[in-house]
């Protein structure tokens, strides 16, 4: 199993989520992070003084999938997150040794994304 970690712009998330869902990957997590990279900081002013903010808000997506699904997820992210401008972010792939679904205690590849039809609530 692989964990795909991507640091993206916020506005890219909705299309990524929607397309992954459609392709059968409903499960993922996101978190707010701030990143520093090749984007320069932002200078703000307040009552005549200045304040430089060196990090920018980014979104981190975490999605664990079976080895063979990795490239689908990576490509979906690339498709929507790319604007061609500095600050688009990065994708990293990390190996995952085990995965457990808490609700059932089941382990293994099956718990990652696939659902028995009956399981999907209305």
């Amino acid at each position: 199993m692989k964990k795909i970690e991507a640091f993206i712009r916020h506005e890219a998330f909705e299309p990524i989520r929607a397309e992954l869902l459609e392709k059968g990957f409903p499960s993922l997590s996101i978190g707010e992070v701030k990143g520093s990279g090749r984007q320069k900081g932002i200078v703000e002013s307040y009552r005549g003084s200045r304040l430089t903010v060196n990090v920018r808000p980014k979104l981190k997506i975490e999605c664990v999938v079976e080895d063979r699904d990795k490239s689908v997820v990576v490509e979906t992210i690339l498709k929507h997150a790319r604007t061609g401008d500095v600050g688009d972010g990065k994708i990293f792939v990390i190996d995952v040794e085990e995965a457990i679904r808490i609700r059932t205690g089941e382990e293994g590849d099956d718990v990652l994304q696939a659902h028995a039809e009956s399981e999907i609530p209305g």
Partner: protein
């Protein structure tokens, strides 16, 4: 400049005194009488505005002491309650409270309208002002009720109780004390409650008590071992806003209860109010500091309110020196009260202490400090004057007892009617939201949307919200879309 203006006018008028007079003078007298009436009503109208503003004070006290997930509900509540109580008072409540009818309730003034005869007087502008003033007092009393019920009561319960309260419960008490009812003559002495420590504040607190008994504490308030846990309200600044608005509004509440400007008594009432509020803050802050080595912000605010509640009954009856004492004791009571009550009852804003205990104390304080110069006809001065002055000690103790009777009667009537009302609500539509709704918060569960949406909805889901790189003001140029990234990096 300053003083001179007033003196100049006075001198001009004094000069007139040496001129001779006539029948014209009689027409004049009527005109003067009319103006005096208008002046009195002008002051009452100013007071109405201030008392109405107190609704915002109660609103922010409640919102400040709520968690973020329940802050919008408070807004809807205060608006709907004010709506219901306004109409209930107009249609029914004022009539029941009015200075007509029997010892138990008034019988004239329903569906209040111009020209209507109430107690033999046709309704005009000045009667309207007094009716409005009474309405807004009733609304204050109702607002107090909700303090104990935060974060878990059903929305519909508000509206129903508000109707009963505005039409029946509060009017009965107001009639009892102010409308020539039973409490205006307890064995020959009147219960003295200048602006309503008991009539308004204790009444509200007792309604709150009845509600709380049937409602129970918030989820998580008591640890499994029964110890109370802190559930901090989300914003002390908003609590502070509420307290300051209430303090300002109280000038109308107390000093407006002179119903006019005669003798400029309203200024004396206002100074008493200010002194007691000040002492209330200091009393509560000192006790809170002694107990925890820090000044609890909410307690300082509760102290102000307790001082104000305590002085409400005595504000028109006591000398200035008594006001800081009354306020200070109120401030001390409120802290101990909150600590003690918190062990058993979940009262998020401290209404039982600040309005209930301080309201009782204030009503009794009239019996301790009431000044011969100021008290009602038929009443005896305070026990203080019985001991240190030349009033009959027995008479003063008698008056104190009458004050206690006022408290007890108010408690009994309000508790009985309120408990019955809330019980009926509980048995029919239910009093409390479900556990899930409480956990999720009343905003989303009763009102469909968070009161502070951006605290709960993730930015990437917020329509039109994204974290595009800001182009701060003063940047050289504005470019479309993502290219702005580059600009702001310059």
């Amino acid at each position: 400049m300053k003083k001179r203006v007033g003196l100049g006018a006075a001198m001009a008028l004094a000069a007139l005194l040496i001129m001779p007079g006539s029948a014209l003078a009689q027409g004049q007298a009527a005109a003067v009488d009319v103006i005096k009436g208008e002046l009195d009503i002008t002051w009452v109208m100013v007071a109405c505005v201030l008392v109405l503003f107190m609704q915002a004070g109660f609103l922010f006290l409640e919102i400040g002491f709520s968690r973020q997930k329940n802050v919008g509900a408070g807004v809807a509540k205060v608006l709907v309650n004010l709506g219901v109580v306004t109409l209930a008072w107009w249609a029914v409540g004022f009539g029941i409270s009015s200075l007509t009818g029997n010892k138990l309730f008034g019988t004239e003034g329903f569906f209040f309208h111009h020209g209507q005869e109430i107690g033999g007087v046709a309704v005009g502008g000045s009667e309207t002002a007094l009716m409005l003033f009474g309405m807004l007092f009733c609304a204050v009393s109702l607002a107090i009720v909700w303090g104990t019920t935060l974060e878990r009561i059903k929305f519909a319960a508000y509206a129903i109780y508000a109707a009963v309260f505005g039409a029946i419960i509060y009017p009965l008490i107001a009639h009892g004390v102010y409308g020539g009812g039973l409490l205006a003559d307890v064995g020959g002495r009147p219960v003295m409650d200048f602006a309503g420590s008991s009539v308004v504040h204790l009444t509200g607190a007792v309604g709150a008590f009845a509600a709380l008994l049937l409602l129970g504490p918030r989820l998580g308030k008591y640890a499994p071992d029964g110890r109370p846990r802190a559930i901090p309200g989300h914003s002390m600044p908003l609590v502070g806003l509420g307290v300051m608005i209430l303090w300002v509004g109280w000038y109308g509440f107390n000093a407006g209860s002179t119903f006019g400007t005669s003798g400029n008594l309203m200024a004396e009432v206002a100074l008493n109010t200010q002194l007691a509020a000040a002492a209330g803050v200091l009393g509560a802050s000192a006790v809170s500091y002694m107990k925890t080595k820090s000044v609890d912000v909410g307690m300082a605010g509760n102290g102000a309110i307790a001082g104000l509640v305590a002085i409400t009954a005595p504000s028109g009856y006591v000398e200035f020196w008594a006001a800081p004492i009354i306020g200070l004791v109120g401030g001390v009571i409120v802290v101990y009260g909150v600590y003690a009550i918190d062990r058993y009852l979940d009262d998020p804003v401290g209404a039982l202490s600040a309005h209930g205990l301080a309201g009782i104390w204030g009503t009794l304080a009239v019996g301790l400090f009431g000044s011969e110069r100021l008290i009602l006809d038929g009443a005896a001065p305070g026990v203080w004057y019985g001991i240190f002055g030349d009033a009959s000690l027995g008479a003063t103790i008698g008056q104190l007892a009458v004050q206690a009777v006022g408290v007890a009667a108010t408690f009994t009537v309000v508790f009985g009617l309120s408990y019955a009302t809330f019980f009926a609500i509980k048995r029919t539509i239910g009093l409390r939201v479900s556990e899930d709704e409480e956990q999720a918060g009343l905003d989303i569960s009763s009102h469909g949307m968070y009161g502070l949406p951006e605290a709960f909805i993730p930015p990437e889901e917020y329509p039109g919200a994204d974290h595009r790189i800001p182009t701060p003001a003063g940047s050289p140029a504005r470019a479309p879309a993502v290219a702005a990234d580059r600009l702001s990096e310059a």
